[in-house]
Amino acid sequence: MLQGTLDMLILRTLLLGPAHGHAIAHAIERRSDDVLQVEHGSLYPALHRLVKQGLIAAREGTSENNRRAKYYSLTAKGRKKLAAEATKWERLTQAISGIMRPAEEEGGS
């Protein structure tokens, strides 16, 4: 997995609203159609790093079935960061697909 990709995916997931670790892991897995298979544990260092950078905030809360859990939510700074990263990512993927497409054609011929 690309450096920083996981961070971006987390931010993207939290755009939809606060979530706890387990939910974030599954959301990422689902939304990427199970392509991005990661060990869910690697999520936690990333979450703590994002908290430290002030991109997301952590809060103790109560979940649907009255269980205490730690909820993460996007901060304003995180929102800005996500927007910037998304543009950058768009440009990168375009560039990569621009390079890769002719290669596929060559491989196919």
């Binding site: 387990h22 690697s42 260092p45 859990a69």
Partner: protein, 881 residues
């Protein structure tokens, strides 16, 4: 710390939460519960790695908040410069005292030998003790047997240190140099890399007297050869024997003695040719025990195993050589142990200084803690506010501790200055000898590291309790008013005791310093009882250049004779030891008819061997009978002169002239007393009257003598002409310890008392300073606690003066208690000191000098916070009501 634990718990909960949710989902998807849990764990990945990675993320956050704390702490300290200054000063005293003490202990006891892996080096040998001083020694044969029979040691080296006559070439004048006869393996075993040339070859350690090769110390090479690299192969003279220079030792290696610096190393096999006494072969004589053996234990061998093995060897030796090794144990000691046993007074002095400086540090820490607590009411408001808006207590404690750390580091930095002053003071200690004594008191890396550790420890000592106390504040009451109850009575008791104790201790130290000062002044005014001016001395040991006993005696006589006819010399005499010089001799005598107490059959007295001119040259008065005469010869009846004290003790109320004693014990020869000399000072200026015996040089030949020349003019002007005299008799004769009596007297009689007075006075001053800080902190603390009460009193009409008196009363009571206890202790100390100095009666002046001054400064310390308390604005004090 608590903060970290909570965060740790939170992460655990988070992970547990994940596992539970995932397991639940898996069960809902139809997995059996056991399998569902495993699947969840698999999905999560390795838990330990996850935690480790997460902690790594925190690590930086922790550092970041430390930087924040440091900034905040710095701001707080800068905002209260008075408090900061006082706290830093107290800590500087505490840390500085420890820094200086460490440097002292390091120079005397602790500094490791400059060899490879010094902590492994142990000393092995036969214990030989003299009045509590015990060293491990061995003869060369002992060494060979122990080396060959033991299996516990990697290898054993042997060496013997002594003075040698050394000349850089055949016709150059001989100088006294301190050298070491060493076993050939010494440099190899100790891991000493020879700087220039080579060390000893194994074959140079085989044949007695064959390989005359020498390795010079770096120091000697620089001093006597100007660091000339062509020195290798040069011929030098050692005790008159020609040696070839083969190497120069590295600068950092100064020998295996912690105190004396070795100038040259020669193979132990050369011993027989270097010794002054041709009758004894030191490589064969089993009872010539002047070697030290050192080595390393084999890996895996414990000291107790080695000890057991050495005991077996000792019994073997005892069986084989009963006449020399009966009841001789063989022991092993670590380097530290061997240094302590070798000179217990040094270790005791070090321990005493350490205890004193630790006490000073603890008092300083207690004072700063008290100061910090006194600020607690002030800070409580700020702290409570921060707690209320959600700051964690752990974080706040950390912040307060960071402040303490800053204080401690500042105190440590200032303490280094004080410590350095102490080190400079220790460096001023002069030992009047030509031996290369190597007490290097240094503010080196070891001392710096030690001071840092002390500073960090003190930060915890003085910072933790106030930090805990301050952050425990009850939020509501702390926000409402600055008064949070009266502290426990016992707590205040402890502080009161501490402050009173400081006042008392500093009083004792100051009075003792004053007593000693006055005592020494008295002694110096009385004088030592012998001539201290217009005298030059120089010493000779002709056995270094192979003189026989009779040649040596003849040499001494001729030097004195020629000195007498040298221009500028009024008179000249010879003595084995000069009063107050570090070397002193003793004699064992049995006075005729004296009834000894049970268990004793002889007495040991200080003694000196002198010629017939000694008493007149030294201006020591003969009060009865006569001094020595030219007619007291080796063949005439044995005679002696006693001093008044010896006469008074063993022949009370009688004329001792004509009385007899046996010399050297019960079966020794009879000696007749022919005269009584006035009692003088013998060892140092403040000694009580001491018994002393003089023996004539003609009947008591010594290897070493000192020439004393009385001058008409400046005594030091005689040095050159007298050197010429000696050169005229024997150009190779080494001369050592050339100095004037004035110089010796200044070192031993004038400076030594200062060496005692100054540290005691300095400690006393530091004690006063600490007591002031302590009292100030205490009164400020108490006044702070009573701000509201004071406000009420003033609101209902109390006068400012009355408030001032009320607050000061506590300080006054403590100061008076401290002074009372201190005075009582000083009376005790004075009695002890009176026994040492002959000062009479109670020294009222000292008390009149010290006690009021101390009372005044302590009252001032109480006055400042009291004045502040009395200026309290009642409206402000009651604001929170």
């Amino acid at each position: 710390m608590k903060f970290r634990r909570r965060r740790e718990e939170s992460l655990d909960n988070e992970i547990r939460d994940y596992i539970e949710r995932e397991t639940q989902e898996n069960i809902e998807a139809g997995m059996p519960s056991e399998e569902a849990r495993f699947a969840a764990l698999r999905k999560l990945g390795p838990v330990l790695n996850i935690k480790e990675d997460t902690r790594a993320v925190w690590g930086w956050a922790w550092l970041e908040s430390l930087a924040q704390d440091l900034r905040h702490g710095w701001r707080m300290l800068a905002k209260n410069p008075g408090f900061t200054l006082v706290a830093v000063l107290s800590l500087a005293i505490g840390i500085g005292a420890n820094c200086a003490t460490f440097s002292f202990a390091d120079a005397i006891l602790l500094r490791p030998l400059a060899v490879l892996r010094p902590s492994e080096v142990v000393t092995v040998g036969i214990p030989e003790s003299l009045e509590g001083f015990s060293s491990l020694v061995a003869s060369y044969r002992d060494y060979v047997d122990i080396r060959d029979q033991s299996k516990s040691f990697e290898s054993l080296v042997a060496f013997s240190e002594s003075s040698f006559g050394f000349a850089v070439q055949r016709d150059a004048p001989s100088q006294v140099r301190f050298g070491s006869l060493v076993s050939g393996n010494l440099f190899r075993v100790m891991g000493v890399e020879i700087e220039l040339g080579r060390g000893f070859r194994p074959e140079e350690d085989q044949v007695p007297g064959r390989d005359a090769v020498v390795v010079l110390s770096h120091n000697l090479w620089e001093r006597d050869f100007a660091a000339d690299r062509t020195v290798l192969g040069r011929k030098v003279l050692i005790n008159g024997v020609e040696f070839t220079v083969i190497g120069v030792a590295p600068e950092r290696f100064t020998g295996l003695d912690p105190i004396l610096r070795t100038d040259l190393y020669v193979p132990i096999m050369m011993w027989p040719r270097l010794t002054g006494d041709p009758k004894v072969n030191p490589l064969e004589a089993r009872d010539r025990r002047s070697l030290t053996i050192k080595g390393r234990l084999k890996t895996g061998v414990t000291t107790s195993q080695a000890r057991a093995e050495l005991a077996t060897i000792a019994r073997n030796l005892e069986r084989t050589y009963p006449e020399t090794n009966r009841n001789r144990e063989v022991e092993v000691r670590t380097e530290l142990e061997s240094r302590i046993r070798r000179s217990p007074p040094d270790a005791e002095l070090t321990a005493m200084l350490s205890a004193l400086s630790i006490a000073v540090l603890l008092a300083a820490c207690a004072n700063v803690a008290s100061l910090l607590s006194s600020r607690a009411p002030v800070r409580a408001h700020e702290i409570a506010l921060r707690l209320a808006i959600g700051a964690g207590r752990g974080r706040l404690i950390r912040q307060l501790l960071t402040e303490s750390l800053l204080l401690a580091l500042a105190g440590g930095a200032a303490g280094l200055a004080i410590g350095y002053a102490g080190i400079v003071f220790f460096r001023g200690i002069q030992i009047p000898t030509d031996l290369p004594v190597n007490f290097t008191f240094e503010l080196d890396r070891r001392a710096l590291l030690f001071s840092l550790i002390v500073a960090l420890t003190s930060a915890v000592l003085f910072g933790l309790a106030p930090a805990l106390q301050t952050t425990r504040a009850d939020l509501i009451s702390a926000l409402r008013s600055t008064v949070s109850g009266i502290p426990g009575r016992r707590r205040m008791w402890g502080r009161n005791l501490l402050v009173a104790g400081q006042v008392a201790t500093s009083l004792v130290l100051l009075t003792v310093a004053t007593f000693i000062y006055r005592g020494f002044r008295h002694e110096l005014a009385q004088g030592p009882g012998f001539r201290t001016d217009h005298l030059l001395m120089m010493s000779f040991n002709p056995s270094l250049v192979h003189y026989s006993e009779s040649q040596a005696q003849q040499f001494f006589r001729r030097v004195a004779e020629r000195a007498r006819f040298t221009p500028g010399v009024r008179s000249a005499a010879l003595a084995f030891s000069v009063p107050m010089s570090p070397t002193q001799d003793g004699a064992t005598i049995v006075p005729e008819g004296y009834q000894f107490p049970a268990g004793r059959d002889s007495i040991n007295v200080l003694a000196d061997t002198v010629d017939e001119n000694y008493f007149s040259t030294m201006a020591i008065q003969i009060v009865q009978g006569r001094g020595f005469l030219i007619t007291d010869t080796a063949r005439s009846p044995r005679v002696a002169v006693v001093n008044e004290e010896l006469s008074k003790r063993y022949w009370p109320g009688q004329n001792p002239v004509g009385k007899r004693f046996r010399q050297d014990g019960r079966n020794g020869p009879w000696v007749e007393i022919v005269g009584v000399a006035k009692t003088t000072k013998y060892l140092w200026i403040a000694e009580p009257p001491t018994e002393f015996l003089y023996l004539p040089m003609s009947q008591h030949p010594q290897q070493r003598m000192t020439l004393l020349a009385e001058s008409f003019g400046d005594a030091s002007g005689l040095a050159e002409p007298l050197r010429e005299v000696v050169r005229g008799l024997d150009a190779n004769q080494p001369i050592y310890d050339i100095r004037t009596m004035e110089e010796l007297y200044r070192m031993r009689a004038v400076n030594v008392p200062n060496m005692v007075i100054q540290p005691v006075a300095a400690m006393g001053m530091m004690g006063v300073l600490l007591a002031i800080v302590g009292l100030y902190g205490l009164v400020a603390y108490a006044a702070g606690r009573r701000t509201r009460e004071i406000g009420i009193r003033m609101a209902i009409g109390a006068q400012r003066q009355a408030v001032l008196r009320m607050v000061m009363r506590q300080g006054l009571v403590l100061a008076l208690c401290g002074i009372a206890v201190g005075l009582a202790a000083s009376f005790g100390a004075e009695r002890v000191l009176n026994a040492i100095f002959m000062a009479t009666g109670i020294d009222i002046v000292t008390y009149l000098l010290v006690a009021p001054v101390l009372l005044a400064v302590t009252l001032l310390a109480a006055y400042i916070p009291a004045r502040r308390a009395s200026r309290v604005d009642p409206v402000r004090a009651l604001r929170y009501e």
